[in-house]
Amino acid sequence: MPNLTDLTGLASSASAIITALAMIPAVAQLPNKHLSATLSAAFVLVLLPFGELPLAGYLRGVTGDLSITTMVLLWHVLLKTSKLFVIDVQQRNELMMTVAGVALIFYPFALGISLEDPYRTGYGNPLLIVTLLVVALVATFRKSTLIALCTTLAVLAWSIGWYESTNLWDYLIDPFISIYAIWIFIAAKLKSRFSVSKQ
């Protein structure tokens, strides 16, 4: 009998696989009803054993469990056509800027650049939780709903032990969303520099 955290972890990998599937032009152009049916079937299929493991298990071996922030963005892509979950570009850019900024500071220290390890604060450090509360409240009042939502869902998921990790940082960010966010940031900078030099 699998643990609940294995099921949630596999579901995160399955979500990544079907999001990739949904972004294939031939699939994305399907009528809504067919698209939903295709993605639902694919979601079930990647969770069924294929050899020794489900397909999602092979991906999970490589990626680990994806952060809640990544999951929010993946499900935004999946639910985009249904209009259930709409994120405007500005909100997405604010989130990406925040993730990129945090990742650029967080990962070098977490991976051993000094004796100080910010990852340690993820094991229930009250200061980190207070900081995240302030971030969530400020984001809510500034109507940066996506930042508030990702922060709050990550904290909630950590609190109830959604994944096998007991570290809050694993719920907030992962390397994939970080690399994506840094790429968006760099691409935006290059684009603005390019457009300035053209003027």
Binding site: L111, G112, L137, T140, W158, T166, N167, D174
Partner: protein, 430 residues
């Protein structure tokens, strides 16, 4: 009343952070070290030392042994073995020593990559480095490393538990210890207990940096704290020597620039803060070390005490808390030997016979060593990855890799050690 998105968000924030603050409030506070680690039986007995081979399988690669005392006084060993280190057929194996007869039982496999990936529900390419611990409720916990992608730098830590002293094991579970897709945490050093029953697990990283860390694990298996002991590329495979409830020394395998010396860090407040790591006088060729802190404060360490190879393995001791060290005994010394296969097999057979004079055909042991340690016309000896414990009766048990082919066990009494330490009181390190 119309519930706005704004109010919904505030309600969600209240719920999430309310539960989070509650969860943070029940995480145990820092605790002192459990000291002494166990109550030793009185008496010193005769001054004795003996050796045996723990493993018996021929023609395979064998490495990274560890030990734990069982509730009935027997000693259980763990190691990994397969066609080569990192091969897909590597298994975690175990055997039990009957102290009365001084004989090891048959080796059995308890985990491989298939059983591990089915338990973890994720792809696993290879496994290694088993390290056992005993929890406060008597349960055995066996930590080992698993790799899904790449080499050992891609390792994560997995564990199983046993309620019957290692006869049967639970499905494997994963520890998440790193924010970068949980890769590059490995285990080698002996676990220890805190006074509140939580477990200390020395671990290390080998990804961008090579550094040591200390995990604190609650009885249920959840990590509740992690401390960094070194940074950059300095020291890995930490071993903790607990001197009393507040004081301890951590020794680390050297991985930094010359001179090649064992790296040490100390604490005087039960690990709330460790001082910056620095080099000791102990030579180390980038090879694993092991140690035990005696209840009288003396420290005993087994290591390859040269800068360039793993052909020498020694016992060294400190009477002053690690400030200075004296050599106590040379366990193996084949330095400066670059034998041809013909002379290697003769020496290896002699060493096998010296290890255990009851073995019927030492040439079989020598042949396996030849396969693992000779390349063309060049062979080398290797005695590495020591792991030492002290049992309740005061005896010391040390296991190490013998020429990447077998696990060798050396057993000695307190009286023998005291005798050696007295005889070598003024001995110098090489």
């Amino acid at each position: 009343m119309k519930i706005t998105r704004h109010r919904l968000m505030l309600a969600l924030i209240s719920l999430a952070f309310g539960v989070a603050f509650y969860k943070a409030s029940v995480i145990p506070e820092p605790a002192a070290f459990q000291w002494p680690a166990m109550e030793l039986e009185q008496g010193n007995g005769a001054a004795q030392i003996s050796s045996r081979f723990v493993s018996s399988s021929q023609n395979i690669s064998t490495h990274a042994a560890s030990l734990i005392e069982l509730s009935d006084g027997r000693i259980r060993a763990f190691w990994f073995a397969g066609s080569r280190e990192g091969a897909e057929d590597v298994e975690i194996r175990t055997a039990v020593l009957d102290p009365a007869s001084n004989k090891w039982g048959n080796e059995t496999a308890i985990a491989d990559r298939h059983s591990t990936q089915q338990s973890l529900l994720r792809f696993v390419k290879k496994i290694g480095n088993p390290v056992p611990a005993r929890l406060g409720d008597g349960t055995l916990q066996l930590f080992y490393v698993t790799v899904s992608v790449g080499g050992w730098a891609g390792s994560s830590i997995t564990f199983m538990t046993s309620d019957d002293d290692g006869e049967t094991w639970s499905p494997a579970r994963r520890l998440v210890t790193s924010p970068f897709i949980n890769i590059s945490t490995l285990v080698k050093g002996t676990p220890f207990k805190y006074a509140d029953g939580s477990l200390g697990l020395p671990v290390y990283h080998e990804f961008l940096g090579k550094f040591s860390e200390l995990l604190r694990i609650a009885p249920g298996g959840d990590i509740i704290d992690k401390q960094r002991l070194s940074d950059g590329k300095l020291g890995i495979q930490p071993v903790i020597l607990i001197k009393n409830p507040e004081q301890a020394m951590i020794l680390m395998r050297h991985v930094g620039p010359a001179p090649k010396r064992v790296i040490a860090a100390t604490t005087v407040n039960a690990g709330k803060r460790w001082n910056d790591p620095e080099k000791t006088e102990l030579a180390n060729p980038d090879a694993a070390i092991t140690g035990v802190a005696r209840t009288d404060g003396r420290l005993l360490v087994a290591l390859n005490d040269t800068e360039s190879n793993r052909e020498v393995l020694s016992l060294v001791a400190s009477n002053d808390g690690g400030a200075s060290w004296q050599k106590v005994y040379t366990l193996e010394d084949q330095r400066s030997q670059t034998p041809s296969p013909a002379s290697y097999i003769i020496t290896a057979a002699l060493l096998a016979r010296e290890t255990d004079n009851s073995i019927l055909n030492p040439a079989l042991f020598a042949n396996t060593a030849l396969d693992n340690q000779c390349s063309g016309e060049h062979c080398r000896f290797e005695f590495s990855y020591p792991y030492m414990i002290q049992a309740h009766n005061g005896e010391f048990h040390l296991v190490y890799t013998w020429n990447r082919s077998f696990i060798k066990h050396v057993r000695f009494t307190r009286a023998w050690l005291d005798q050696r330490m007295k005889a070598n009181q003024h001995a110098q390190l090489d």
